[in-house]
């Protein structure tokens, strides 16, 4: 085995560009017995890649940066073997997975399951590998309930996630990624108040370190409650759904799969639950099937051991609900009241968190949260 995963030597590629100024009418075509006016057919050549050489060592990553039209995609396609170079040579000894465009071979009338099969084969997996990774792909895409219906019924987001999920399940020697995969442009809004505002700013900065492109801040005056803080996000949500996470909540899991499920849910809200040994300290959910039928705050006799965590997902109605809220006994707009509104409409769904979770509002829970972080950071 050579040390280089990719070896490119003196590669050039040029394209023929033909401009046909104006379509002929049928009459003109018949009269002149031609389809294209010969004098007006213009042909020129564009050098997309000119004498490029480089090597990529095993176990390393090479990023190619350039302006639009500078030949990045052409280079990718040459590496993938889709184009053949006009001159020079490309040597890639291993298996290549070119993820240059997602969902190659997807057919709208076929079900998600059928399309995953074909797309996986196109990407170079064999049927056994696809079979083995199928559940993982579907789970990653968050489309378990929708995998056996035609993909033409999918929303563009669902479509995107499924194609992406198949693409990332390939395990090749050389992985070629084009810009199509630049997804995950997430927008965040931080609502903070009092003295802790500076802490958030210090921690998150401009968000670049966390891969966040758009980070918004707003300041909450006084102690108006979580639902009041949520109201401050209305202009940010722009009539879209919103995921709310309380700042003192620590979650071990990636919450993406739960958010995916929420996206696939037609309307309503979704909260994340966690089984706890001391439910009487929390808001406790009473469950019925996939819905929550009641949330009791710090009940003496809990109906279940599932605590409602500080991660809430709401559809756009949430802001209308917030406006109707009355302050509670402690003078705040309570998020529990928002959730109860959804419950009364039979529209509050839930998922149970697998990994560790803790809030950090009290000494006891703060200690547990610290333990969680300590354990995770030691792994």
């Amino acid at each position: 085995m050579s040390a280089e995963a990719i070896l490119v030597e003196g590669v050039s590629k040029r394209f023929r560009v033909v401009t046909i100024p104006k379509q002929m009418t049928l009459k003109e075509a018949v009269v002149s017995l031609r389809l294209i006016r010969p004098s007006e057919k213009r042909e020129r050549f564009v050098n997309a890649i000119n004498d490029v050489s480089f090597a990529v060592a095993r176990g390393t990553t090479l990023g190619v940066i350039g302006r639009n039209g500078s030949g990045k995609t052409t280079l990718m396609r040459l590496l993938a073997g889709i184009y053949t170079p006009d001159s020079g040579s490309i040597r890639i000894p291993g298996e290549i997975a070119p993820l240059l465009s997602l969902g190659v071979g997807f057919h709208p009338d076929m079900t998600g399951r059928e399309n995953v099969k074909i797309n996986g084969l196109v990407l170079g997996m064999n049927p056994r590998q696809i079979e083995a990774r199928f559940d993982e792909i579907v789970e990653f895409a968050g489309l378990r309930e929708f995998i056996d219906i035609p993909v033409r019924t999918y929303s563009s987001g669902m479509h995107m996630r499924l194609t992406f999920a198949v693409a990332v399940s390939v395990d090749p020697d050389v992985l070629l990624l084009d810009e199509v995969l630049a997804v995950g442009d997430e927008a965040f809004m931080i609502v903070t108040g009092g003295a802790s505002a500076g802490d958030f700013l210090r921690l998150l900065g401009n968000g670049r370190e966390f891969g966040l492109k758009h980070l918004h801040y707003t300041y909450q005056e006084g102690e108006g409650g979580i639902a009041e803080a949520l109201k401050l996000c209305e202009h940010f949500a722009e009539e879209e759904r919103i995921v709310v996470m309380l700042g003192d909540n620590i979650v071990q899991d990636d919450i993406t799969p739960y958010v995916r499920k929420f996206e696939n849910q037609n309307s309503g809200a979704r909260v994340l639950l966690k089984e706890v040994p001391n439910p009487e300290r929390f808001g406790v959910a009473e469950l019925d099937g996939d819905r929550i039928v009641r949330i009791e705050e710090k009940p003496a006799r809990p109906k279940s051991s599932f605590a409602v965590t500080g991660i809430y997902m709401y559809d756009r109605r949430v802001f209308d609900l917030c406006r109707t809220l009355q302050p509670s006994a402690r003078g705040e707009l309570e998020i529990t009241d928002v959730n109860n509104q959804y419950i009364s409409q039979g529209d509050l769904y839930y998922d149970v968190l697998d990994g560790g979770w803790s809030d950090a509002g009290e000494f006891e829970s703060l200690f547990r949260a610290s333990e969680l972080v300590r354990a995770a950071s030691r792994l």
């Binding site: 394209f15 023929r16 396609r77 993938a80 073997g81 889709i82 184009y83 053949t84 290549i96 070119p98 240059l100 465009s101 190659v104 071979g105 997807f106 057919h107 009338d109 076929m110 059928e114 099969k117 074909i118 084969l121 196109v122 990407l123 170079g124 064999n126 049927p127």
Partner: protein, 255 residues
Amino acid sequence: MVQVLYRYRWLLYELVVRDLVLRYRGSALGFVWTLLNPLLFMLVYTLVFSVYLRIGIAHYAVFLIAGLIPWQWFASSVQAGTSSIVDGRMFVGKTVFAPIILVLVPVLSNLVNLLLSLPILVTIVLIFHVPLGWSILVLPLLLVIQFLLTSGVAMFLATMNVFFRDLQQLIAVVLLLLFYLTPVIYPLSTVPEGFRPYVLGNPLAALILSYQDIFYADSFPNWRHLLYALLASVALFYAGLAVFERYKDAFADYV
């Protein structure tokens, strides 16, 4: 080519399945259409040629369907094969891929259709009490020859169609003309002696005659016809493949 086919065998398999599934998904009769199609043609042609025109051959329905089923394999495959590369632009140029797969998909899916309609053919043969003998053992050989012929023609036309899209429109007309020039609806004996060499110059005609020999005439195919069909089909297959291989790298630039 064999290596390519081996490497992409599963994709080829899935695409053939998809082709068959999609054709009938959403239609009430589904797969029954595969059987109904030649039967309806058989009824109409039998009415026209056996009742109206009185072509005067016994068991015309059997004669007709023996040639019609292989013809449909050829015609449907060539029609779909011609546009296969252009229609497959979602594959070509988007990923590493052997475009030959796209051409072979319609040839194979229509072969499956042919195999599925064989029971109908045999049933009709039996209904009319036409004897069916050992010559049926030659059938696999006929299928191999026709596969080579069909895919050779399809590869050639698919390549041409990338550069001249008019072919896609033209091919329907050409196939219709070829249908009448091939002895499917009339026996070779009705063709004047002087024209027969021209008719038999068409390797597909030699093949169709062989199918009719097996299922209608209860005789082994004329070995000279068969040898000619074999040689011509192998030649056309390699010619089609050569043209395809010569230009396939340019497909991505043009589709």
